[in-house]
């Protein structure tokens, strides 16, 4: 350990870190310690070129860049001295020299580090009236990204991302000196499964996604922490929403799961949250209101119980831990066969994308569900969560299906109950490394739909199953889960930290 002093505050930091790394690990960077920086990014190699992060170190004659200077025990650092501020103002002035200052038509406005830092540390008046360097405006670098060359400050974050993270290397800085321009290599397009991350890391409005560009000013958006449900990784995201509409997903940093990235597929999955939803309850081919569908399902379940006929349950790896806990308890109370779930598999890679295309297979396993895509046994009634292959249910008389999307409705479903997507309720998923992670609702459906756990509870109540008198309450259920299942001990929704926690 090394002890360093920054602006009079003393910190214990790990040896071998750079000053910026140490501050980042302490979680004080840009909070307690304001140390503006452009080219440095916690998950990319050090570039050391923007020169904005210069600090004064006692005993060292020249200012040093915090992003490439290793900490030393006893180091005394100043980030607010006149010399530092002067150097910073110099960098800001020079960066703005060739910048178009077209903030009113720039999509980055509101989350632009050039705008922010110029405001906080910059010079207020331009000292030059010289023409700016010519550069291209708004052209496509590939299928997902639009580039405004004029706004680029050449921090090379995007270049390093493509070399080091996506490992596709489409971008480079061409020419040299003040003629330097960021471009794709001749004949190459910026096209890789992670391409849109470059828009997040670009500190200015040079790289924007075609998808989000010009949709909404960011200051109208608020961010709700959630989890991507497109594969077993469970990348942490923020859903940016306004007026009950979601405009984008952006990665939320979690060093144990997705670093600061998400894949393009996951990012675009917000579209599926509102498209093709199952909006109406059904009994047979008849549209009914929700209560009627619930009571029909409850009646059929009651008849099966009374007739002592077999009942089966098909779980879903898209349901939350809490949903699945409720389901598992119902299985116990009904005394039916263990529930099963099936996983759809697809492409995977070494970075984030997992082959299992569902968010909670590990949660289902941890709660005692068995993975299977075999046909279920003969049964009077099947309670089915989510999409199911029709062949699995050939031996079932009555099929009650809880689905969020039209396309998931099985042709043989007798009762259909619309359920909420994970965007619309509170819960947790367990990712492929058995890490429980909480997601929060950021949309409210404009039709009647309940969460899996809620709908299941209401069906059990309608069927008058003993012990199912109380309505569903996710917080209470999560506490019960934490008490009942040792793997989830201490991991109820209120105790689960923002970055999630491994199952016990």
């Amino acid at each position: 350990m090394a002890q360093i002093t920054i602006d009079g505050e003393t910190y214990e930091v790990g040896d071998g870190l750079t000053i910026l790394e140490a501050l980042d690990q302490l979680g004080v960077l840009m909070n307690e310690v304001e140390l503006p920086h452009y080219c440095w990014h916690p998950k990319l190699s050090v570039d050391g070129s923007c020169r904005l992060c210069q600090v004064e170190i006692e005993g060292v004659p020249k200012l040093q860049i915090a992003c490439n200077t290793p900490v030393r025990d006893g180091m005394v650092i100043h980030t607010k001295s006149e010399r530092v501020e002067q150097a910073r103002r110099g960098v800001m002035e020079l960066l703005l020299l060739n910048h178009p200052l077209d903030c009113p038509i720039c999509d980055q406005a509101g989350e632009c580090k050039l705008q922010d830092y110029a405001f906080d540390y910059g010079v207020k008046h331009a000292r030059t009236d010289l023409p700016r360097r010519p550069a291209k405006k708004g052209f496509e670098l590939g299928p997902t990204i639009v580039f405004d060359q004029e706004r680029c400050i050449l921090c090379r974050r995007c270049v390093r991302f493509c070399r080091e993270v996506s490992q596709t290397g489409e971008l480079g800085v061409f020419q040299r000196g003040e003629r330097s321009l960021l471009e794709t290599f001749p004949g190459a397009e910026l096209d890789n499964p992670y391409s849109m991350n470059v828009a997040d890391i670009c500190p200015v409005g040079a790289l924007t996604t075609k998808d989000f560009r010009f949709k909404v000013r960011v200051w109208f958006l608020d961010d709700v922490p959630s989890i991507c449900n497109q594969c077993g990784r469970g990348c942490n995201i923020n859903a940016s929403r306004s007026n009950n509409r979601v405009y984008r997903f952006v990665p939320r940093r979690n060093d144990a799961v997705n670093q600061t990235w998400i894949c393009d597929h996951g990012r675009m999955s917000y579209k599926g949250l509102t498209e093709g939803r199952c909006t109406e309850a059904r009994v047979g081919s008849r549209r009914v209101n929700y209560d009627e569908a619930v009571s029909t399902a409850g009646d059929r379940l009651r008849s099966a119980i009374d007739a002592k006929r077999p009942i089966v349950v098909v779980a879903s790896p898209f349901a939350s831990n809490e949903d699945l806990f409720v389901l598992q308890r119902l299985i116990g109370d009904l005394g039916c066969e263990p529930g099963t779930f099936a996983i759809e598999r697809g492409d995977s890679d070494a970075l984030l994308i997992r082959a299992d295309k569902c968010p909670n297979a590990e949660g289902a396993r941890a709660l005692g569900f068995l993975e299977s895509d075999a046909a279920v046994g003969e049964a009077a009634i099947a309670l089915v969560l989510g999409r199911v292959a029709p062949e699995r249910l050939v031996n079932v008389e009555t099929q009650v299906q809880l689905v969020s999307h039209e396309a998931d409705i099985s042709v043989s479903a007798d009762v259909v109950l619309p359920v909420r997507s994970h965007a619309e309720y509170l819960g947790s998923f367990t990712n492929f490394e058995r890490r429980a992670q909480r997601f929060s609702p950021f949309l409210e459906p404009c039709f009647e739909a309940w969460s899996f756990g809620d709908a299941l509870t209401e069906i059990a109540r309608a069927a008058k199953v003993l012990g199912w008198e109380q309505p569903f309450d996710v917080i209470r259920v999560s506490r019960e889960l934490a008490q009942a299942v040792p793997a989830f001990a201490g991991l109820d929704l209120e105790s689960l930290p923002a970055e999630g926690a491994p199952l016990r």
Partner: protein, 430 residues
């Protein structure tokens, strides 16, 4: 082309003699005695000796060569590398070319001595791509060494002393002369200086421990070993021993190279070059290559050694002395200098990329008579934004000469602004 300096001392004694460019001729003239003397000593002793000789790097920064060698890590299993910097791209410098052409074996001997001292297994000689003939000369010398069995294994009969030398041609960028820009270029990458740490001694060429020295620096080394530290210190000053090849250019009667002891007064250097052309009055002298601030006639007595020049706000640099007579328009000089630096900046660092462009645009506008009074203030403050804040010293090199010109010749610039035209009808054309 000059085949020998106009004045010669030990380094260039045999320059111009065709035989000296062959291995046999070099040996006949006493070549490799320095290496033999080195091999008779412990490597550490050789490093100490070079350190105590006070030999300073001739590539511009003037760092003690032996001290630099001592930074090479000891007890490190990795292969160690020497790099000989033959990029010679500082405008006003043309000494390394002469050495490569006339004394290529001096360089190779110096490299072998350094290899013995530092434990380096391989040397790269990086030569600027425009230097096709020097490249040929050095390649030929290396080939002769291999033919004779002087390179490869058991060098000079010293069991276990292995050394290979690779000659690498650059592709023409000033910044590839900066040692880490050179290393990137050598590795086949875009020539952009590296941030430090890590320093080359820890992580240099191809990630290996590396020492970079200038061509001339290596060429002096054999004499220190063969003739001794005392003898070497007999030339030059206390803090800057030895000779150097001053390259005098510009408005003199006899431009060219002159081997003179360091510390020779500027006046004498110019006199050797025949004085200012056409008996005109001297206006300014750049003492060490274009990136160094100018001196004025009042500085003529300054001894040409770093310790004296730095007192006058400038540096010895590469010893490229550029003489300007009274016809010269300093606003034009600023224009030429700023054009060069704007063009050659690698463009990584904000201050250098943007500052060099800004300075040049200002200089251009002032020179063309379109400057505004405020432009002079800017021309003073923009270099201050750049200096000391960047990855490499290029930004300093771009800032210093402009600062120097403004300090000494502000009125030239003011004239352009107030008159709207150039007051020097006979000045060189842009």
């Amino acid at each position: 082309m000059q085949t020998e300096p106009y004045t010669k001392l030990y380094l260039s004694e045999h320059y111009g003699n065709e035989a000296f460019r062959t291995l046999a001729g070099y040996e006949a003239a006493g070549g490799f005695q320095g290496l033999r003397a080195a091999l008779a000593r412990d490597p550490e002793e050789v490093t100490e000796l070079v350190k105590s000789s006070g030999l300073r790097g001739r590539g511009g920064a003037g760092f003690n060569a032996g001290l630099k060698w001592s930074f090479m890590p000891k007890g490190d299993e990795r292969m160690k590398v020497l790099v000989c910097n033959g990029d010679e791209s500082e405008p006003g410098s043309f000494k390394d070319r002469m050495i490569m052409q006339q004394g290529p074996f001096q360089i190779l001997e110096g490299l072998l001595i350094a290899a013995w001292a530092t434990g380096a297994r391989r040397s790269y000689i990086y030569i600027r791509g425009e230097y096709q003939y020097p490249i040929q000369c050095v390649r030929k010398a290396v080939a002769e060494m291999y033919d004779k069995g002087y390179l490869g294994r058991d060098v000079f009969g010293e069991p276990g002393f292995e050394h290979d030398i690779v000659v690498h041609s650059g592709a023409g960028a000033y910044i590839c002369g900066e040692e880490t820009g050179l290393l990137e270029s050598l590795e086949g990458k875009k020539g952009q200086p590296r941030k430090k740490p890590p320093f080359p001694a820890q992580h240099g060429a191809f990630g290996l421990p590396t020492t970079v020295n200038n061509i001339e620096t290596f060429a002096h080394v054999p004499y220190i070993l063969s003739r001794g530290v005392e003898w070497f210190r007999g030339f030059g000053t206390e803090k800057s021993p030895g000779t150097t090849l001053f390259g005098v250019s510009g408005h003199v009667e006899r431009p060219g190279l002159f081997e003179l002891p360091l510390g020779t007064p500027l006046r004498e250097v110019i006199a050797k070059a025949g004085g200012v052309r056409n008996n005109r009055a001297l206006k300014a002298v750049i003492p060490g290559g274009m990136s160094m601030p100018v001196l004025t006639p009042s500085d003529l007595d300054v001894p040409m050694a770093e310790e004296f020049l730095s007192e006058r706000g400038t540096h010895l640099g590469t010893g490229g002395v550029m003489v300007m007579d009274d016809t010269t328009c300093m606003a034009r000089v600023a224009c030429v200098i700023s054009y060069f630096f704007r063009d050659e900046s690698c463009g990584q660092c904000t201050q250098c990329r943007e500052g060099t462009g800004w300075i040049h645009k200002l200089c251009e506008r002032i020179e063309a008579g379109r400057g505004r009074p405020r432009d002079l203030e800017l021309l003073e403050s923009v270099p201050a934004l750049m200096e000391g804040h960047t990855i490499c010293a290029f930004a300093d090199a771009a800032a210093w000469p402009i600062k120097g010109l403004l300090r000494h010749f502000r009125s030239d610039f003011e004239c352009h602004i107030s008159e709207g035209s150039c007051p020097f009808p006979e000045s060189f054309e842009l």
